[in-house]
Subunit: 475 residues, 2 copies
């Protein structure tokens, strides 16, 4: 079947409002949001229902037409855009954006895959509940994409990743059949737990069309503190202490290096050092509770007193109100922007090691980079409580418009090799997509790659589902 | 290769202490702990290391010899014992019982699959941490079995199932290769999350040999209350209220019918009604916190006052100390024993529906059973907070030694059909094994069964890994 014939048949399935073919309309769908991964597609399909998705996928399976499932196209690794070959059809879930049901008593919510994350948060709040997934792109990312990439976000320490926030899925399989696993049960041991195949698979094993999400009590009180710590080891002990005092109420625990703070103070208008003296390391920590009132703040004060007594914390400020809390968070959240203003060519690494290995990793990576790249500037910050650091670096003189600098892997290989030695992950949150196919080959064991290929071939024997993403050699 | 030749080669791999062939020695391994499922085996293999497991599995893969992986043999569905054909070799993990590492800062613990659960709890406590999995069999069940069955236990409401307590696995695949996924990372998006295939697979996709488990802060305070509630709907509203007041501190929330309490008072020596008047329904609820002191008890009192004001709770007693708390729990934990003393032939159902559907399910199931089986006695209790009920019944006159009564499915089909109509699960905790193969055929969708078979065939093409369990027709 020619591409033209296939598109005609797709048009018959989804109708004119479900199909884009004019190249000007295709533009936002074929390039990622940062303009790094640019592909081409004969058409963008925008189904209105699971039935339409299934019919389209079935047609593509029969004709061997490759598909690229796409949510909000806010990913970091190019998983959601087609290759430049122009043979892959983009399958956008954007029109399937409804909240289907909110069951407050059961603490669940059923949503279509194209639902925007911010709308999901809103619907939960309206039901006096809380959906904990929160990330920078929440105004435009869609839950199907969050599920496909197992998005992390700021609340992982307390609530887990997206994988931990889901009870069931509805998925269109690569042969077009619909698997309806939408059961809002917390306990169900009737066979293999199939949803976990599709979560984090970046669209390579099937198209997620709906999900049942978990809801939580609304946080009614928060207590935020910006602290100075002598070194990362102290930060870790401080985390243990905070957990001992405050248990599950510890919701965020972010590490920030002096260097990061300097960049923010330098580049971000209105930014002010929360503490009077300069320190080498900082922790931004937050507690939250479903119970309102001041007990939480007192709990934090008691914990800080103990931390200061034990020289784990050198100085601290507690936010007096919501506005102050947001100002402290803005220090942390502005770091990427400040880094971009400072560094023309920033090498970014979204890595994870066991929490207990973070101090060792920081030392070894610094030592290795400084040894190899004189004048290297290390920008180190992140979710210490999860073991996930944004460990970025720039080398003076390297510019983004210099292809050699842009494509250089020398800095990255040094960092990832150290991560590997510590049994860590070279992609804690962002996934693989196109961006990290080389790393998959370099760092994953052959057994692991073969297991993944076995699953891929078993579920998608024709290789139509987002080919060339996550795994290479899956054609 | 003859069976004899295979066993000789296995003996060369594991040595004499790793192999049992005398039928008297085999007895505890070939029959389940309740004596319901009796099989036969030519030998029981007890490897001492992952390397030995791998070599044995490789040999079995080459020769097409079926294996039955076994932990503590405490399961409820016969998944861990061989069939009566006598062709399957039992592979016991019992000798691989070491705690390999405890990393308190990272809140993880690495264990071999044959580690007894109670020993794991103990090792966590010694490191000032808490491993939340707790069930009746914890003195003899092994973590590999808990993982393979995705065991639930009493703390699911707060901490989740076994699946939620694991960061990584080491698994010997059906071809004998070792997949080492022992990374203690909370964030790792480098490809498919393979561990979830093996968790809950009841030994049909590979042999779990080690795991990295999550640790939590030790509970330092608990507050337990036995309450009377007017009906299950009120119990649900009470749960919402308790969650609003106490958030994550709600650790257990158990529903008990009047009938269950009567049975306990009648059959269990020393049992006393905690409340002065008789009521129709009860809830046993518990809060716990890592922070010691009396704040938790006060929090519970405030919540109970609100619940009583709203007529959700009619009467309540709070345990004054540990001994009183245990006495209240004994009321709940003795129900199975009391039921067995009363009923000769008890039909047991471990079901789950959405929490919000529990009251409707209870009404419909009662109505259907009473209509069909005059004099039926319903014993309904369980983990209301998870939506998981032990919904049991006995019909007067039916006796266990009557084969027809024992094999009758009439009561069970009525209950499960209602569960199905509510999109629930016919096996919330206990798994499938041999016991529920019929239910798999009756209640799981064809797409779901085929997906599972696809995975099974892809990972275990020779069908040697615990054949005939979970899925039929997988030969």
């Amino acid at each position: 079947m020619t591409t033209h014939a296939i598109i005609e048949r797709i048009a018959a399935i989804v109708g004119p409002q479900g199909l884009l073919t004019d190249p000007r309309d295709l533009e936002p769908y074929v390039v990622d949001w940062r303009g790094i991964y640019r592909g081409a597609s004969p058409a963008v399909v925008r189904p209105a229902s699971t039935g339409q998705v299934a019919a389209v996928v079935e047609l593509c399976a029969e004709s061997g037409t490759p598909l690229v499932p796409q949510g909000g196209n806010t990913g970091m690794c190019g998983a959601s855009v087609p290759h430049a070959t122009g043979r892959e059809i983009v399958l956008s879930l954007a029109r399937m954006n409804r909240v289907l049901e909110v069951d407050a008593l059961n603490n669940t919510m059923t949503v279509e895959a194209g639902c925007v994350l911010a709308n999901i948060q809103q619907a939960a709040a309206e039901a006096d509940r809380f959906f904990p997934l929160s990330l920078g792109a929440e105004g435009s990312c869609q839950i199907g994409g969050n599920l496909s990439t197992n998005a992390g976000g700021v609340n992982v320490l307390r609530y887990g990743n997206t994988r931990d926030l889901v009870l069931g899925l509805e998925v269109v399989l690569p042969d077009g059949r619909i698997w309806n696993g939408l059961r809002g049960l917390r306990k169900d041991n009737t066979g293999y737990d199939l949803k976990h195949l599709f979560i984090g698979a970046e669209g390579t094993l099937g198209v997620i069309t709906a999900a049942i999400l978990k809801l939580y009590p609304r946080p009614a009180a928060t207590a935020t503190t910006w602290t100075a710590v002598p070194h990362p080891e102290a930060a870790l002990e401080f985390l243990s202490l905070l957990r001992r005092h405050c248990g599950d109420r510890v919701t965020a625990f972010e590490l920030v290096s002096r260097n990061c703070l300097d960049l923010v103070l330098h580049h971000i208008p209105g930014a002010r050092d929360p503490l009077p003296k300069a320190h080498d390391w900082y922790v931004l920590a937050e507690l939250s509770d479903s119970h309102p009132g001041h007990a939480l703040r007192r709990e934090l004060e008691v914990a800080l007193e103990a931390a200061i007594e034990n020289a784990l914390v050198l100085d601290a400020v507690i936010a007096e109100n919501e506005a102050q809390s947001r100002a402290l968070w803005r220090m942390r959240e502005s770091i990427p922007e400040a880094a971009r203003a400072e560094a023309d060519m920033l090498y970014r690494h979204d890595i994870a090691v066991a929490v207990s290995k973070i101090p060792e990793f920081i030392r070894e990576a610094r030592s290795a980079l400084v040894g190899r790249f004189p004048g290297v500037n290390i920008i180190c910050f992140g979710h210490l409580g999860d073991g996930n650091l944004h460990y970025n670096a720039f080398v003076p003189g390297r510019k983004r418009n210099d292809a050699a600098a842009r494509e250089a892997r020398d800095v990255t290989v040094v960092v990832y090799d150290i991560v590997q030695r510590h049994h860590g992950s070279f992609s804690a949150e962002h996934g693989i997509g196109l961006a990290k196919l080389d790393e998959m080959r370099r760092y994953k064991s052959p057994v692991e790659i073969e297991l993944m290929l076995t699953l891929k071939h078993a579920l998608d024997p024709r290789g139509i589902m987002n080919p060339g993403k996550v795994l290479s050699g899956d054609g």
